[in-house]
């Protein structure tokens, strides 16, 4: 009687060749099946989304490109009754007014100064954000010391070296948007860190002051802060001292952003285990060194998404300074679109579409950058 008995011993004599996977495991077809049609719900969602994109994308493309008007001298180029066709975005209007959107009423013959400012700022930003850049310590000095001074001289004027004064009242457009958000961003991070540290301090007075500043600033709307900065700030100051009308909302925005930043940073500080503090203390590091070398680098890394979120929010919130009479981008769009020369229905939307595209690409850039930094930091720690 023969019974199948399992093989008791086995020794491999030949190695198995590695074979290419079947088409259902790897390759584009497999990807589509795996990611788009893996089950009934997934398939339904895919179909729904495809229909939605089909419904929304062509009209957007049509509005932005195919029906858009690119050239023209005045509103008649963008009106249906004169062109005889449906009109999408009136880019002719944006192109015609782009200098106004960029500089506001900044004197035309001095516009090389804001241009140079944009360049100076761009160099600083690239130097700071490019993690492998040479001499980053020098870059930090440039960004935090040279850029502010140069910017002030360039934009506001420095008669001693031949740069005539330009009152802030004529600044406008993207220039003001960039100035307000850059000041807000550059001030809010360090001040926010200090407020967050203060709020976690063991010294009761310091803690109380920080809690009051944070909760008060966070507890009122930005518009209120701006109005207060605009109308109440001069009241607090000694007589004879006037604060520039652009500086007032700058202070308000910086304060407001700092309070939000403080809470974001505090979240990061709370995530650092006690052992990190103890490890640092046991080596004899003083409190400032412990915070600077050990705690803050880790805490800030954890909250990069929150920090960038705050920056993006701040960048868009700068549009609110138009309420206290500052000509930021939105305000210039507003005043340009009611110009009788460019009276056409499509002009209204085109100006806002331009502003939306500008804001979108700036915010998307920040978001993209923060994600690339996160990926890089994660990679350097695990690897």
């Amino acid at each position: 009687m023969t019974v199948m008995t399992p093989q008791r011993s086995f020794v491999r004599t030949a190695s198995e060749e590695a074979l290419p996977p079947p088409r259902t495991v790897a390759g584009p077809l497999a990807w589509v099946k795996e990611n788009l049609f893996s089950g009934p719900i997934n398939t339904a969602v895919t179909v729904l989304m495809a229909w939605f994109l089909f419904w929304i994308v062509p009209p957007i493309l049509d509005y932005l490109f195919f029906s858009a008007v690119w050239t023209g001298q005045d509103g008649s180029a963008c009106r249906e009754d004169t062109t005889g066709r449906e009109v999408g975005a009136c880019w002719a209007f944006v192109i015609d007014r782009v200098n106004y959107f960029l500089y506001g009423s900044y004197p035309a013959d001095l516009r090389w100064r804001p241009n140079l400012f944009f360049l100076v700022l761009a160099i600083g930003i690239v130097w700071m954000l490019w993690l492998d850049a040479p001499r980053r310590g020098l870059g930090a000095i440039y960004f935090f010391v040279v850029v502010p001074i140069l910017s002030y001289w360039l934009l506001a004027g420095f008669p001693a070296i031949g740069l005539s004064n330009v009152p802030t009242g004529v600044w406008g457009g993207i220039l003001v948007t960039i100035v307000v958000s850059a000041v807000g961003i550059v001030i809010s991070l360090p001040v926010g860190v200090l407020l967050a540290l203060g709020r976690r301090s063991h010294l009761p007075i310091v803690r109380l002051v920080c809690v009051i500043v944070i909760e008060f600033t966070r507890g009122v709307p930005l518009i209120t802060v701006l109005f207060m900065a605009n109308t109440m700030l001069p009241l607090f100051l000694a007589e004879g001292i006037t604060v520039d009308r652009l500086v007032r909302p700058l202070i308000g925005v910086a304060f407001f952003a700092s309070a939000y930043m403080a809470e974001v940073v505090r979240g990061g500080l709370q995530a650092i285990p006690k052992g990190q503090y103890e490890g640092a203390m046991s080596l004899g590091l003083s409190y400032p060194k412990m915070m600077y070398f050990i705690v803050l680098p880790q805490a800030l890394r954890i909250v990069i998404p929150g920090i960038v979120n705050t920056f993006i929010g701040l960048f868009k919130d700068t549009t609110l300074v138009s309420i206290v009479g500052i000509f930021d981008l939105i305000r210039t769009v507003e005043s340009a679109r009611i110009d009788p020369l460019w009276s056409a229905p499509s002009v209204n939307y085109s100006g806002y579409a331009f502003a939306a595209i500008f804001y979108f690409f700036c915010c998307w850039g920040m978001s993209w950058y923060s994600q690339s930094v996160e990926r890089r930091l994660a990679a350097s720690e695990k690897r």
Partner: protein, 263 residues
């Protein structure tokens, strides 16, 4: 042995205080966590070059006791004198003492955002103001001593627990400490990694480092300790040389404890 400090005779300890040979002196130290009396009248004198092993059940205050020595915990009553300097609220003095007292933790407490080398050079550079080059040289020397020089440019997260703990020991040694405190250095390790860390500690002991070790590794205590201390309920219950401590424990609690951990 010259150290005759004991529970019952704190006065003797005081009168014998010869400052150069005493590394750590605790006199009538008390500590409370809120209402809870964690340390009760601790009197202990550790001489230079001495190796003390502290054992006891969890919650007995042994970790708290050694954490008081570098002021990670604050004592509320009594005196702690480290290297001739008394621990007070004076922050400068605390930082000075911490420079001289190395500590190794149960969970390593390496800095995960810095490489192994940076972990080791940070304090020498920024606390001792040592030039970067010298600090790196010293760090490599100690990393070689704990047998992981090839890991210098990795991050702590890429190392095994045993390797991390050896880095933590090297990091402390880079500050050239007079006294090393170990707070359950092997408790968080996988069994096969305990030996590599203990070997490092044994070699450190053989070089004459003053060590206070909280551990349950009784083999280590037998091998290197000059004295073994048993703590319970925040008090030093029994203290003796390892031979006598293990073969002839006096106190009932000690007998019970040893009966449970030595099989």
């Amino acid at each position: 042995m010259a150290d005759t400090t004991s529970l019952e005779k704190p006065q003797t300890a005081q009168s014998q205080a010869s400052n150069t040979e005493v590394a750590v002196e605790m006199k009538g130290v008390h500590k409370w966590f809120g209402e809870f009396h964690v340390l009760r009248d601790i009197n202990l004198r550790v001489m230079r070059g001495e190796r003390i092993v502290v054992c006891g059940p969890s919650g007995s205050g042994k970790s708290t006791m050694i954490r008081c020595i570098n002021r990670l915990e604050e004592h509320q009553k009594g005196q702690i004198i480290v290297d001739g300097t008394e621990l007070t609220n004076d922050l400068k003095r605390i930082d000075e003492i911490r420079r001289d007292v190395g500590m190794v933790f149960q969970h390593f407490n390496l800095f995960p955002h810095l490489t192994i080398l940076e972990n080791c050079t940070l304090a020498p550079i920024w606390v001792k103001k040592m030039p970067k080059k010298d600090a790196e040289e010293i760090a490599m020397k100690y990393l070689t001593r704990v047998k992981i020089p090839e890991q210098a440019h990795k991050y702590p997260g890429q190392l095994s627990g045993g390797q991390q703990q050896r880095v933590a020991i090297a990091r402390s040694l880079c500050m050239n400490p007079q006294i090393m405190l170990f707070d359950e250095p092997t408790s968080a390790l996988d069994p096969e990694m305990v030996k590599e860390v203990l070997d490092t500690m044994v070699s450190l002991a053989e070089e004459g480092m003053t060590m206070m070790v909280v551990t349950h590794e009784m083999g280590f205590a037998r091998q290197v300790a000059d004295r073994v201390i048993f703590m319970d309920y925040g008090q030093i219950v029994e203290m003796n040389e390892p031979e006598a401590f293990f073969s002839n424990p006096q106190h009932e609690r000690t007998k019970l404890f040893l009966g449970q951990i030595l099989h």
